[in-house]
């Protein structure tokens, strides 16, 4: 580590390739520059390295240093100079989600058991799951075949049958694949990779059926027992095949693979690595979200267990129409602190859908987009909570107490009370005109409970730091904490039931103290980088993290939004009366310092 002075890392996204430079100065590693350029995977370039060289070229312009060897000028032609490569750095690393990322079909026997485990394996490996085939997916064979033919996945993950369980269903699925004869999305003439990670007793039969029709890779059963998953080997196989097959077929990647000091990682996998590292290093449960124009990715680590989900049709430009369809106008309107008629709202959202690259110029438009973001984030977390769950189908020994708590197997792992840190990313959060707006959007959408820190990844460098973490985790963590996360502050939300206006919390933070009443949102300034000792005494029946009515003491961190006290209750219910709702929303937004033109 002592010898590493300079690192360049790129993230080749669907539309933009982003390059960052990390340098060691005074024995500390810092972000020293950032450049970006359009991704060039598609025609007329058909070569990812053109975009990489242009992004790194921008780094050169900004820093005055040379990182590109054997190149006379910035690449603007349709083919990159074959002699060019990244040089003058100790490490060059890259992630990629260009060309639609890694698209997978997963199969299992029962939808909520082995098929769900296979989904978790694929998503955790950074894939986009484009369909899930299971015995109980309510489709006829011919419908499944037509679907498999139409989607052209990059690879297939087959699971199903615990050890000693069904064999027949695995053979059925194998024959279904033969009948569908799927072809990979990239690379004509090469065989589709199929990872078999199901019941070992069915291996021989599956090999016989699939034979030399596909490139079959056998891995240990990913759900050997109902009570246990073994996702690691399947995830590693996915990663290996992503590099060997998918990346090798994508335009220009053969060249890029020879430039990098470590294997290229898929972007979501790299973000997942960073989220897991952050949770380990900081010893807290973490929720991270990346909300884009077309999709919303949610990552979480609860109790040391990592999960990732992709809501493929929740986004703020291309997918804004789907947020409208899924959430409904009433749910979006409830967050807008100014009067907007439903008809007008629908037309505005549709106009954004058909011209997705436009940006809000008026305050009303901004408030509407931030309202849509709240609903997209809320739905994204709902989807995540359904998949980030305990194993379904597990029989549990129950005590009398369980009968009253209704605890069940397969419940969600998402626990908003134990959650210690929320990280937001994506244009609407990272580039909100005011940081307080990002904080309030995340609080409203996720409804954190107890004491939770909030942050945004200002320039979305978690992918590059994630791939760096695979080589040098200490440097990745150092830069992550120093330059990647922008702290927004801490939210304190007591959970319990009270009538509007009743005191729900008495607090002391540093030298300040006060009370929080039900229905209130309050803010205490605490600057970025600052910390303060806090003593929180919830009212009887209220919990702020130490149990009902029990005092919580600890350290809270500051940020652009400071410390936000949220007494609005969980679940957060907005006034049903239109005028009262507008009055309350306006009050909360102004208190949070989130109203454009208002005090910050």
């Amino acid at each position: 580590m002592a010898d590493v002075m300079r690192i360049v890392a790129t993230d080749c996204g669907s539309t933009t390739t982003k390059a960052i430079l990390i340098e060691r100065r005074d024995d500390e590693y810092h972000l020293a520059g950032r450049g970006e350029a359009p991704t060039t995977v598609e025609a007329p370039f058909d070569d990812v390295t053109v975009g990489v060289l242009n992004a790194v070229g921008e780094l050169e312009e900004l820093t005055g240093e040379r990182f590109i060897e054997a190149r006379e000028s910035k690449v603007e032609s349709r083919k990159s100079d074959l002699g060019s490569r990244i040089s003058n750095v100790d490490l060059y690393l890259s992630t990629s989600s260009a060309g639609g990322g890694l698209q997978m079909l997963v199969t299992g026997v029962i939808k909520t058991m082995t098929a769900e485990s296979a989904q978790r394996a694929a998503l955790g490996a950074g894939a986009i799951v484009i369909d899930v085939v299971a015995v109980d997916d309510n489709r006829q064979d011919h419908e499944r075949i037509a679907r498999i033919r139409s989607i052209r996945p990059d690879m297939i993950l087959m699971s199903g049958g615990t050890e000693g369980g069904t064999v027949q269903h695995l053979l059925d699925t194998a024959e279904l694949l033969v009948a569908a004869d799927p072809h990979p999305r990239l690379g004509r003439g090469f065989r589709l990779p199929v990872i078999y990670a199901g019941n070992s007793a069915a291996r021989e039969g599956v090999e016989k059926v699939l034979g030399d029709r596909v490139d079959l890779i056998v891995e240990p059963n990913l759900r050997p027992q109902l009570e246990a998953e073994n996702l690691g080997p399947a995830r590693e196989a996915i990663h290996r095949l992503f590099l060997e097959h998918v990346m090798a077929q994508a335009p220009g990647y053969d060249k890029l693979l020879t430039w990098t000091s470590a294997p290229i990682m898929s972007t979501p996998r790299a973000v997942g690595e960073m989220v897991q590292l952050a949770a380990r290093e900081q010893g807290v449960d973490v929720l991270a979200v990346d909300i884009g124009g077309a999709t919303t990715d949610v990552f979480s680590v609860f109790g040391g267990q990592f999960n990732r989900t992709v809501s493929a049709n929740l986004g703020l430009s291309y997918s804004i129409g789907n947020v409208l369809a899924e959430a409904g106008t009433a749910n979006i309107r409830r967050w807008i602190p100014v009067a907007v008629d439903e008809d007008d709202l629908r037309n505005r959202l549709r106009n954004k859908m058909i011209r997705p690259t436009t940006i809000p110029q008026t305050v009303d438009d901004l408030l509407i987009e931030q309202a849509v973001a709240r609903e997209a984030l809320r739905l994204g977390l709902l989807h995540h909570g359904a998949l980030a769950s305990g194993l379904k189908g597990v029989q549990q020994a129950r005590t009398m107490a369980d009968l009253f708590t209704q605890a069940s197997a397969g419940g969600t792992l998402v626990n908003m009370m134990s959650l210690g840190l929320i990280i937001g990313s994506g244009g609407i959060l990272s580039h909100a005109p005011r940081r307080q707006q990002a904080a309030l959007m995340m609080i409203d959408a996720f409804e954190p409970q107890g004491v939770t820190r909030l942050a945004v990844d200002s320039i979305f460098m978690m992918p590059q730091l994630g791939v760096l973490a695979s080589v040098l985790p200490e440097i990745a963590m150092e830069v992550f904490q120093r330059d990647c996360l922008v702290p927004l502050g801490t939210v304190i939300a007591p959970v319990g039931r009270a009538r509007e206006g009743e005191v729900v919390l008495e607090w002391r933070i540093g030298t300040e103290s006060g009370q929080l009443r039900a229905g209130e949102l309050k803010r205490l300034a605490l600057e970025t980088g600052g910390t303060a000792e806090a003593e929180l005494s919830p009212a009887r029946g209220f919990d702020v993290g130490a149990g009902k009515g029990r005092r919580w003491t600890g350290t809270v961190e500051g940020g652009a939004a400071g410390v936000i006290f949220d007494g609005r209750g969980r679940p957060l219910v907005l006034p049903s009366d239109e005028q009262e709702r507008l009055r309350k929303l306006g009050e909360w937004v102004r208190t949070a310092g989130a109203m454009p033109g208002g005090p910050s």
Binding site: D141, L171, G321, V363
Partner: protein
């Protein structure tokens, strides 16, 4: 990013249109190179394999999968009728016989000794590809289709629903900002209707009910679209809707007049055969809905003019976001520095001289000073380049 632009939609009286017309699978091409084709002419045909139905035969017969081959009465490739016995066990002294009957008519495709399943392929379905617009066959794609080429007027819309349709253009509004007049509809069979300002839900239903194959309007309210489809569109990938009439919007949602140039072109083509397609895809590889009217007697040749893509001082633009949504103008300056807008965001902007109603557009080339009230600052992302 060095270049910020939003390519405009094409509206032109004369373009060279080339479209690849391809079967979804290998089939038979019915035209030859340089042949003249009519819009509704079938140019390629294929038989789409029927659905594959699975029968769990071994399970139904209570035998092991490897015993199935001996129990099957018909071989792969043989025709079967629904109800035919296709497999049976001998039973004991002719008693307790088990049998499996075909669930559908078709061809026995596969008998698996591994899974114990029998698969029957249903009868194939005929798929045909039409030329869609009158023109010449520029190229034959062996076994797949052809490239059709023609000189034509082309109007690209911003959003549409419904797939390919053809019909005679008929104008049913009095101006670019006027709504469809239901009283002017009458019998619309075989017509593509044009109205400037838009149509409400009743007018859309009336047009479809009167037999129109298409309706091209400036804008509709989203509620009217939902009423027409019966559901809310989620993702902007359209063209497969089961609607009687394709609907194309040239400007967007709400109450917006059709752009003057689009209106002028479409009204000048009244009475001519139009080939329209409502299919829209707003993702990478964007597809916009379109109206094509082949020019009679014009020979194909010459490359079409590509839309202007770089925003610069002097560009004709349309503002595509509030507060000046729908207004036209010309770029007079492109400040390099980021500028703070009303939302407090700092973004790249352009100074735009808006056209005043009834006045000539400001001509920046002649260096005329613009009246201050018509000079507005607009984020560059909110501008669409107009072709001149």
């Amino acid at each position: 990013m060095a270049v910020a632009y939003t390519p405009g939609l094409r509206v032109t009286a004369d373009a060279l249109i080339r479209q690849v017309r391809r079967l979804p699978m290998k089939g038979q091409v019915l035209v030859s190179a340089e042949q003249t084709v009519a819009a509704d002419q079938v140019i390629a045909r294929a038989e789409m394999p029927g659905n594959l139905q699975t029968l769990r035969a071994a399970q139904m017969l209570h035998i092991e999968p490897q015993e199935l081959t001996a129990a099957v009465l018909k071989g792969p490739g043989e025709a079967v009728q629904a109800g035919d016995v296709i497999a049976e066990t001998k039973g004991l002294f002719g008693l307790f016989k088990q049998e499996v009957r075909a669930s559908v008519s078709g061809t026995l495709e596969d008998v698996s000794a591994v899974s114990g399943h029998v698969r029957i392929r249903e009868k194939p379905r005929l798929v045909e590809v039409l030329a869609h617009f009158a023109g010449n066959v520029a190229e034959v794609i062996e076994g797949e289709g052809a490239v059709i080429e023609a000189r034509a007027a082309l109007v690209q819309g911003i959003f549409g629903v419904g797939g390919e349709r053809r019909g005679v253009l008929r104008v049913v509004a009095d101006g670019a900002d006027q709504m469809v007049q239901a009283s002017r509809l009458g019998d619309c069979r075989g017509c593509v209707l044009v109205a400037g300002g838009g149509a409400d839900a009743q007018a859309i239903a009336a047009a479809a009910g009167a037999g129109a194959t298409g309706l091209v309007v400036g804008a509709v309210r989203d509620e009217a679209l939902r009423d027409y489809l019966g559901y809310d569109i989620g993702i902007a990938i359209t063209g497969q809707e089961e609607v009687p009439m394709a609907l194309i919007l040239t400007e967007g949602f709400g109450e917006l007049a059709m752009a003057h140039r689009t209106w002028e072109l479409l009204t000048s083509l009244e009475g001519k055969l139009a080939s329209i397609n409502g299919a829209t895809q707003i993702r990478a590889g964007v597809i916009r809905p379109e109206v094509i009217v082949t020019r009679e007697g014009a020979a194909a040749g010459g490359a079409p003019k590509e839309p202007e893509q770089v925003l610069e001082v002097g560009s004709r633009v349309r503002v595509i976001r509030a507060p000046h949504f729908g207004k036209l103008g010309r770029v007079t300056a492109m400040p390099v520095e980021l500028a703070e807008i009303e939302t407090e965001s700092k973004v790249r902007v352009a100074m735009v001289q808006l056209d005043a109603l009834g006045q000539e557009p400001f001509d920046c080339a002649q260096g005329k000073q613009a009246p201050a009230e018509r000079l507005v600052r607009v984020p560059r992302a909110n501008l669409e380049i107009m072709q001149e």
